[in-house]
């Protein structure tokens, strides 16, 4: 269990993280979301002990976070970092040894991961010779090779093609199922929706939305309505309860205040022409994110 209690971090007069409270149990994937500069990386760096806290506590299994537990933490930084001129196997084994793993075990574990990602050929290549996607896989291996109990992934899927995103997702899920606590940040809401049960949206260092994904969606209240039709539906723009209106290629997409409004709209559409599709959807995390954070940044 990772506990973040009343954590605040200021740089001079600038507050990067403001009174953050989080609890991340074992065998759990936690999503930390936020626009650029919201304080995600600062939070990660505090969890890792790279930055000291201005106020509050961070504990892992009840113990304060410091170098005594750094071996149990794996970290995938947003800015990827590996030695460009060192062989893949050499540097991965070196990094794992710095995390307290024996050379023999690290080599064994490394082969398992390389096989899993289908990149055993690159074992003796220098990192600078690899493609960006393969470098990312190597970077991911460097974060998990030493079998961490807590894994921090800063934008793990950025820059990967869909096939590799799936490969990495599977790896992350199997790690979670084996008991690893995982915190990850992403700009890609669909990844968070797919992987996380709990999440927190940061805005200017403050948590604006926090909790279980389903609860968040439910309490958000607003729903999405998609209507596909060739007829003019612009009269719905002024319909009561319609919060957002957007024209699409096939028709319109609405955001409505609550479910009853959608029923009103359904009734209002009767006799207004041919409706190919009428759909009521839960709000996506994307919508929630835009709503909570985007307004300020628009």
């Amino acid at each position: 269990m990772l506990t973040i209690e009343n954590v605040t971090k200021t740089f001079g007069s600038f507050t990067a993280v403001d009174n953050l409270n989080l609890q991340i149990p074992e065998r759990e994937m936690f999503g930390l979301l936020g626009a650029n500069g919201a304080g995600k990386t600062t939070t990660f760096r505090m969890i890792l002990g790279l930055l000291s806290l201005t106020d509050g506590h961070i504990t892992w299994k009840g113990k304060p976070v410091n170098y005594s537990i750094s071996e149990k933490i794996g970290y995938l930084p947003e800015e990827r970092g590996l030695y460009p001129k060192v062989k893949v196997s050499d540097q991965l084994v070196y990094l794992a040894r710095l995390k307290g793993m024996s050379k023999k075990e690290a080599e064994k574990e490394l082969m398992t991961w390389l096989e899993r990602f289908g990149i055993t050929d690159y074992k003796n290549k220098k990192v600078e010779e690899l493609s960006k996607g393969n470098q990312q896989k190597i970077q991911f291996i460097s974060a998990v090779l030493h079998k961490p109990e807590l894994l921090i992934l800063d934008e793990p899927f950025s820059g990967l093609d869909p096939v590799n995103v799936e490969l990495l997702k599977e790896a992350v899920i199997s790690l979670k199922n084996s008991g690893v606590s995982i915190v990850f940040s992403s700009h890609r809401m669909e990844h968070v929706e797919e992987l996380c049960e709990n999440l927190c949206i940061l805005q200017k260092g403050k948590p604006v939305v926090q909790g279980n994904l389903k609860d968040i969606k439910r309490s958000f209240g607003k729903k999405n309505v998609t209507v596909h039709s060739d007829d003019d539906l612009s009269f719905l723009k002024t319909h009561e309860g319609v919060v957002k209106w957007k024209e699409t290629n096939d028709g319109i997409r609405l955001q409505v205040a609550n479910e009853p409004v959608s029923q009103d709209i359904f009734r209002a559409l009767q006799g207004k022409g041919f409706i190919r599709k009428f759909e009521l959807e839960e709000p996506s995390l994307h919508d929630i994110f835009i709503e909570k954070v985007g307004a300020v940044y628009e």
Binding site: F11, S52, S70, Y75, R80, G81, L95
Partner: protein
């Protein structure tokens, strides 16, 4: 194995395996071989076929044996091979032109009995043969003239022998003439070694740190082990690289000196490198001051490297440090002939200069132990302060990426790492 050692040996192995290290070591080894075999190299260019053949025409008819004897005595390096010829001057000149002989020397005597000589060779740019021949003829002439006056050879030689003037330092413990000469050699070498290795290894460290930072692997490293441990693992790793390099150079120099028969005890290079009379304490001081110099500047370089975001900026950022080292070296070079000077005494207590200048004083003068100890202590304190502040700057510095440079970046780094 402890993480500290893992990082130390990783740094060491990576540096040793780089092309630049191998090439620079190879070039330096060649240089060492060249210097230690200077004698042989010079002689190769001086006389391709060994001795110069000089034909001598003795027009006086009786001076040649005495002349040959004097020439042999003067020609200590055995460069010339003189032989008398009865041929005419014209024929002899022809032979010189054909290259059969390297030179022709004619001994003449006019009516008054005055002895003169003439030297003919294809080129007269080589002064050594001319000088030897002239010297030999002068001696011959002196012998002839003094014999005429009835003075014995012994008297002549005693007339020409310069008086012996001895030099003794009266202060107890002051260096004797012989010691000073040898110590000077050692001080020279040490000053160069400190100067070059500080510049070379310190920038190697700055480069290493900046490379890890710019490749962003640093963030992973400092999440694995405390920055101060990391910093010292690098310092010791690079120190080990330095020791390896010196071991190779010293071994190469030693073997080359031992294996070349021309480098016997009397050759100038051996005399310069003969440290048998250097006191053990001076050697110990040399090692101490070398280590102090290395760690002082290496700590400085490590945190300077940590505030740099791009490798291109490393040289610019460590420039002030390089100036400091160069300034210390210059002061030492000015002071080596005058180690008593006031500015030398003062600068020997400034930690940045202590490793070079205090060593110079310890080597060349007989200074009280407390002075050397004070210099060492001051430098040690400075190193500890640098390490403490440096570790903070290092911890913060590796997390900042921006255009800030120099003091601005250092301030920013300190702000990030502070509690």
């Amino acid at each position: 194995m402890n993480k500290f050692w893992i990082m130390l040996f990783h740094t060491y192995k990576n540096k040793i395996a780089t092309k630049s290290f191998i090439i620079s070591t190879a070039i330096t080894v060649l240089l060492v071989l060249a210097v230690t075999n200077l004698q042989s190299i010079i002689s190769v260019f001086q006389s391709d076929d060994g001795k110069q053949q000089i034909a001598v025409i003795d027009e006086t008819g009786g001076l040649y044996p005495a002349f040959a004897k004097q020439l042999k005595a003067a020609d200590t390096d055995n460069d010339l091979q003189a032989m008398e010829t009865k041929e005419s001057e014209k024929d002899a000149v022809k032979r010189v032109k054909n290259g059969e002989w390297d030179g022709l020397f004619i001994i003449r005597q006019d009516q008054k009995g005055t002895i003169t000589g003439a030297y003919k060779a294809l080129t007269i740019s080589d002064e050594s043969a001319y000088k030897l021949l002239k010297q030999a003829l002068t001696q011959t002439k002196t012998a002839v003239e003094t014999a005429k006056l009835g003075i014995s050879a012994e008297k002549v030689s005693s007339l020409y022998t310069p008086p012996e003037v001895s030099k003794d330092a009266l202060e107890k413990g002051a260096k004797s003439e012989e010691e000073l000469g040898q110590v000077m050699g050692l001080v020279y070498i040490m000053l160069f070694v400190i100067y070059f290795s500080v510049i070379m290894y310190a920038s190697m460290i700055a480069m290493e740190v900046a490379t890890e930072k710019s490749s962003r692997v640093m963030e992973i490293l400092i999440s694995s082990m405390p920055p101060i441990q990391q910093m010292f693992a690098k310092l010791f790793g690079i120190a080990l690289v330095g020791i390896t390099q010196f071991a190779v150079l010293i071994a190469a120099g030693y073997l080359s000196l031992k294996l070349n028969p021309q480098n016997d005890a009397s050759s100038p290079i051996s005399a310069f490198l003969n440290f048998t009379d250097v006191p053990v304490s001076t050697i110990v001081y040399a090692v101490i001051f070398y280590l102090l110099g290395y760690f002082l500047y290496a700590t400085l370089a490590a945190f300077l490297g940590s505030v740099v975001s791009r490798i291109e900026d490393v040289q610019q950022t460590i420039q002030p440090m390089v100036f400091l080292v160069a300034a210390g070296f210059m002061i030492a070079m000015f002071g080596i002939g005058n180690p008593d000077a006031g500015f030398i005494t003062v600068t020997s207590y400034i930690p940045f200069f202590t490793p070079m200048i205090m060593f110079l004083r310890v080597g060349m003068l007989d200074i009280p132990f407390w002075q050397a100890a004070a210099g060492i202590a001051l430098t040690l304190v400075t190193i500890v302060i640098f390490a403490a502040v440096g570790a903070k700057i290092y911890k913060g510095g590796v997390l900042i990426y921006g255009n800030a440079s120099g003091f601005k970046a250092i301030k920013q780094a300190l702000r990030i790492s502070k509690k």
